[in-house]
């Protein structure tokens, strides 16, 4: 009887220990991962756009999400930014559930969609003022100038968006995405349509955002060059399935025989398709 009680007590203690451990690991998880998704799927009828995606992104990382056109990258970003509800699976962004706490998630993220053109009839400043207010900043003036200074775009503030170059518009796009100081920034093909100079400038901005402001970046791209120059971790998506996930340095080591990242990418895609 005594033995029974003792063992019961012990098991209770162990259970308590497990719960504490679980809680502390949860705490650790929520503090170290800005993005944490499990078995996330999106179905359109019978077509599976994203299939059981499980992924974690650590705070301070620049995560490159690679894949050919139609691989499901944008659908994934749409789910993570709460624009789309997943068909199944779960996930948190900045510690908030992407379905149950969508409004909280949106407070913590910045997002720049692909090829967004903004409000043409308004100036860059007016666009930023509008989006800042919608992001919850009631007096955005000083914040706007700070962000424009950070992006070296002060001189364009009072120009109409329609008169700005694509590269400059992307910078204004990033400005609207970071004006409320988000924890994580989602960029969907940010360099799409930019000339080489524009690409380099934007790359520098992304790196500075990460190093100086400590913003975690989740970037969709199919430009492998970008990944080598900016990202710390890469994931490869193929037909909605995550087929590869590792740090860039490990990837380079693992595929040391390949001449370029492009070869590595093709190697990964081909090996999975075979």
């Amino acid at each position: 009887m005594q033995t029974d009680l003792l063992s019961e007590n012990m098991s209770e203690k162990e259970e308590m220990k497990d719960i504490t451990k679980e809680a502390s690991s949860k705490e650790e998880t929520s503090s170290s991962f800005v993005l944490d998704i499990h078995d996330l799927s999106k179905m359109y009828g019978v077509f599976s756009a994203v299939n059981n995606l499980t992924l974690q992104v650590k705070k301070g990382e620049i995560f490159g999400f690679l894949g050919h056109n139609g691989a499901g990258k944008t659908t994934t970003i749409n789910m993570l930014t709460t624009l789309l509800e997943p068909s199944s699976g779960s996930g948190t962004v900045a510690g908030y559930d992407i379905v149950e706490e969508a409004l909280e998630v949106r407070r913590k993220i910045g997002y720049l969609p692909e090829n967004v053109r903004f409000y043409d009839s308004m100036t860059a400043y007016e666009n930023l003022d509008y989006f800042a207010r919608l992001s919850g900043i009631s007096k955005p003036d000083s914040r706007i100038w700070d962000v424009l200074d950070f992006l070296d775009a002060r001189t364009y503030a009072h120009k109409k968006i329609s008169t700005l170059s694509k590269g400059m518009r992307q910078r204004i796009g990033i400005a609207q995405a970071i004006i409320h100081e988000p924890e994580i920034l989602f960029l969907d093909e940010p360099t799409s349509g930019l000339d080489p100079f524009g690409v380099k400038q934007l790359r520098d901005v992304i790196l500075r955002l990460n190093s100086e402001k400590g913003i975690t970046i989740f970037m969709n791209t199919h430009l492998l060059q970008e990944v080598t120059k900016t990202c710390s971790t890469i994931g490869v998506l193929n037909h909605g399935n995550l087929i590869y996930l590792d740090s860039l340095s490990n990837t380079m080591k693992r595929f040391r025989d390949e001449k370029s990242l492009e070869d590595i990418y093709l190697n990964i895609e081909n090996s999975k398709e075979e």
């Binding site: 624009l83 949106r106 090829n115 967004v116 053109r117 409000y119 043409d120 207010r133």
Partner: protein, 322 residues
């Protein structure tokens, strides 16, 4: 609330910067003024005709039997109601369409939906911004009416006349907003924006032009210029007695007309302005009581439209996609 007002303010400023709307607004104002001036000239010519025939009769030593034409200034506003019926509906459709189409085409709808705001903020913000613009447009039209009366001279309005103008202003805003909510709904609901616009203009064609026209064409009194019964020398009781024999036909005609929000707006507007003679000497509250169904129909459709807009925005999970 703040988010809704931010969106409303931006929406309002956006329309004001649009050249298309400046042109439509100026067109509506010019047509309003022209219509009042033309109606006044017609009335003045009727008066001078009456006066010359009166002088002729008196010179012949006869007693005039026909009463002098009476001026009810608000009768002169018939054309304004007609223009708002057609151009106002177009303004409503374009506003609703552009409010969504621009956001979809520039992909700013995606940005909006990724901000910490609710879909309710977006729908009601946009409706409020456009409502303010439409209200301002109609207030401009009302100001143009008063300015035209002042320019013509010799027309004095009573306090009741001002109330009547105010009533039609409110009714006109609601009427235009019915078309706004319709076009707003379709622009969200349809993946193809050009389809949305085509459906809107088909609806406009049917409900603004075709249905009221069918009703008018079927009206026996419209078969002869100046009115069939008047040309036959029938008085009102006689007209009623004749029409009683065609009640089935008349009910069908009425039903067709009632399908159109335009007709509800027109009937109420004409009654309030006294375009139909029987309302000229009727007290204003009695006119409103007589026209309650038409007035409620316009406001009811507006409420249904707002509800439908909110519903489709929540239901359509990919409201941003083109």
């Amino acid at each position: 609330m703040n988010n809704m007002l931010t969106i409303a303010k931006k929406e309002f400023q956006d329309i004001f910067r649009s050249r298309t709307f400046s042109i439509i607004l100026v067109l509506l104002l010019v047509l309003t003024a022209t219509s009042i001036l033309v109606s006044t000239l017609v009335f003045k010519s009727q008066v001078s005709q009456y006066e010359s025939s009166l002088a002729l009769l008196l010179s012949m030593g006869k007693t005039p039997t026909e009463a002098a034409p009476q001026l009810y200034p608000l009768n002169l506003l018939r054309g304004v109601v007609d223009y708002i019926e057609i151009i106002g509906a177009i303004i409503g459709i374009l506003l609703g369409y552009l409010s969504i189409a621009k956001e979809k085409n520039t992909r700013t709808m995606k940005l909006l939906l990724s901000k910490p705001i609710t879909k309710k903020d977006i729908v009601f913000g946009k409706i409020t911004g456009n409502f303010l613009f439409v209200s301002l447009t109609i207030v401009f039209v009302a100001a143009m009416i008063l300015a035209s009366f002042l320019a013509i001279g010799g027309i004095s309005l009573t306090a009741v006349d001002y109330y009547k103008i105010l009533a039609v202003v409110i009714l006109s805003i609601a009427y235009i907003m019915v078309f706004f909510t319709l076009s707003f709904f379709l622009s969200i609901q349809q993946k193809s924006l050009s389809n949305a616009l085509m459906i809107c203009f088909t609806i406009w064609l049917v409900f603004v032009l075709v249905l009221p026209q069918i009703g008018d064409t079927m009206d026996p009194d419209n078969q002869v210029p100046g009115g069939f019964f008047k040309s036959m020398g029938f008085d009102k009781p006689q007209e009623k007695a004749v029409m009683a024999k065609f009640s089935g036909y008349e009910n069908t005609r009425d039903f067709i007309e009632q399908l159109s929000v335009t007709k509800h707006y027109e009937r109420a507007g004409f009654a309030i302005f006294g375009v139909k003679t029987k309302y000229n000497d009727m007290p204003f509250p009695d006119i409103l009581a007589d026209q309650w169904f038409n007035i409620v129909s316009v406001f009811g459709l507006l409420a249904a439209g707002i509800f439908a807009d909110a519903f489709i925005m929540y239901r359509n999970r990919e409201a941003w996609s083109v």
